[in-house]
């Protein structure tokens, strides 16, 4: 499994969680790729927390509007039917329960659905930006990330040790090894990526995992 394929697997698998008509916010990195893998018949609207809904494709070189960027600072476009608004409305969408899904990366996720993605040990974090708002406000919070750090350490842990972005906020974790639901009783592996064994995912996870019947069969 090369890394590109893993990233694609994650993005494609997250895309399957989206429903027609959803309003969705995608974080930087793997989450951004989700837009490319929407199943047929699933039309979703993308929200950019810096102030609009209806993110369109990247503009052609030379056709960029310098005042249309996404929350990552990249030039994007706005689709017909989209709308610009101020930051108060943008975070009203998030905090007010109008955002159906947020997909974002993580440094650590734990058994309780706690999420840490804004500080790294030994270095002051760059700030939470809109991430705390997103994980608190979105109806469905999906973490999309590689299962371990670059040097192989587990990111899914019993209790987060890094500063939290949100407490008890994560609903679903999609990694290159499979799909894990954050249930009241703890983490439940709902799917394993083809070729991944229960032993492998357990070995690469610090937290205790349970497996859904469909996985055990």
């Amino acid at each position: 499994m090369d890394k590109t394929t893993s990233r694609e697997y994650i993005a494609r698998r997250v895309a399957q969680e989206l429903h027609d008509g959803d309003l969705v916010n995608l974080g930087i990195g793997i989450p951004t790729m989700v837009a490319d893998f929407l199943p047929a018949g699933v039309n979703v609207t993308f929200h950019s927390e810096n102030g609009f809904v209806g993110i369109g494709p990247s503009p052609q070189a030379g056709a960029e509007d310098p005042e249309i960027i996404n929350a990552g600072g990249q030039f994007v476009t706005i689709l017909p039917g989209g709308a610009f608004f101020d930051s108060a409305v943008s975070f009203a969408i998030i905090r007010g329960g109008h955002l159906d899904v947020t997909v974002l990366g993580a440094l650590q996720v734990d058994t309780h659905g706690n999420l840490a993605n804004w500080t790294v040990p030994g270095r002051r974090g760059p700030g939470m930006g809109g991430a705390m708002d997103l994980v608190t406000g979105a109806r469905l919070v999906i973490v999309a990330m590689m299962h371990t750090t670059k040097d192989g350490r587990p990111k899914i842990v019993e209790d987060c040790t890094l500063l939290l972005t949100g407490a008890g906020v994560v609903d679903l974790i999609v990694t290159d090894l499979g799909v894990i639901k954050v249930a009241p009783e703890g983490l439940l592996v709902q799917e394993l990526r083809s070729g991944v064994t229960m032993e492998e995912i357990e070995e690469k996870t610090t937290a205790r995992l349970r497996f859904a019947g469909s996985v055990l069969r």
Partner: protein, 219 residues
């Protein structure tokens, strides 16, 4: 009526030791020319309230590089390594605030609320030092209003009455800051006569804007 000023004169309205709100998000919607002029004139020990620290020598980065910032209330500084360095070195005191909470605190300051109850940040470091209020069986942080001495904002079009129209994602936090400062200075790309902006299309009413600065008219 808003007063028309040239960039340099407007920049002088920002005094040392003052609290300054600065519009924009990653430079888009930031009053770039005003910020450059302020960086030149060395009004130091500023407290800056903004979304992010922008980039080195761009937007708020101009004030960072010029060493004018003593304290900052922001949601993100990751795009500006100079800022990260100064914060780590203890040269700038930084308060990090979730962006949506920052926006509501600025709005609360502008619309005369004594505070707002927000659940964002519960169970995280954001809780520290804040009062927790229970309402309707849920817990919230009591987030206090923010106000500034001066707000520096940027719009695409303005008229001599101070009415502003923003373009695209450059609107962001600008309309909120226009309500939350004692003195509001708007840098506009295009200045038009009164009556040219349809009253239905005004995004920030001129009554909030004290000083207009126009890129193309340094008059």
């Amino acid at each position: 009526m808003s007063r028309l000023m040239n960039i340099a004169e407007a920049a002088q309205q920002v005094k040392p030791n003052s609290t300054v709100m600065i519009g924009g998000f990653l430079v888009v919607g930031a009053p770039q020319r005003l910020l450059k002029a302020i960086a030149m004139q060395k009004s130091d020990r500023l407290t800056v309230i903004a979304c992010a620290a922008d980039y080195p020598d761009q937007g708020i980065g101009n004030l960072v590089s010029a060493g004018l910032i003593e304290r900052a209330i922001l949601s993100h500084i990751g795009t500006n390594p100079d800022m990260e360095g100064l914060v780590t070195a203890g040269k700038i005191e930084l308060e990090l605030v979730p962006q949506g909470t920052l926006v509501e605190r600025i709005r609360a300051g502008g619309v005369g609320l004594g505070g707002v109850l927000i659940s964002t940040g519960l169970g995280t470091a954001v809780e520290e030092g804040k009062r927790i209020i229970e309402a309707n069986g849920r817990r919230y942080l009591l987030e206090e209003p923010l106000r500034a001495d001066v707000a520096l904002i940027k719009a695409a079009v303005g008229d001599h009455a101070g009415n502003l129209v923003y373009h695209g994602a450059a609107r962001n936090i600008n309309p909120l800051m226009a309500l939350a400062a004692d003195l509001v200075i708007a840098e506009v790309e295009e200045l038009v006569p009164i009556g040219e902006i349809d009253p239905n299309r005004v995004m920030t009413p001129g009554i909030f804007v004290d000083i207009i600065v126009c890129d193309s008219e340094e008059g």
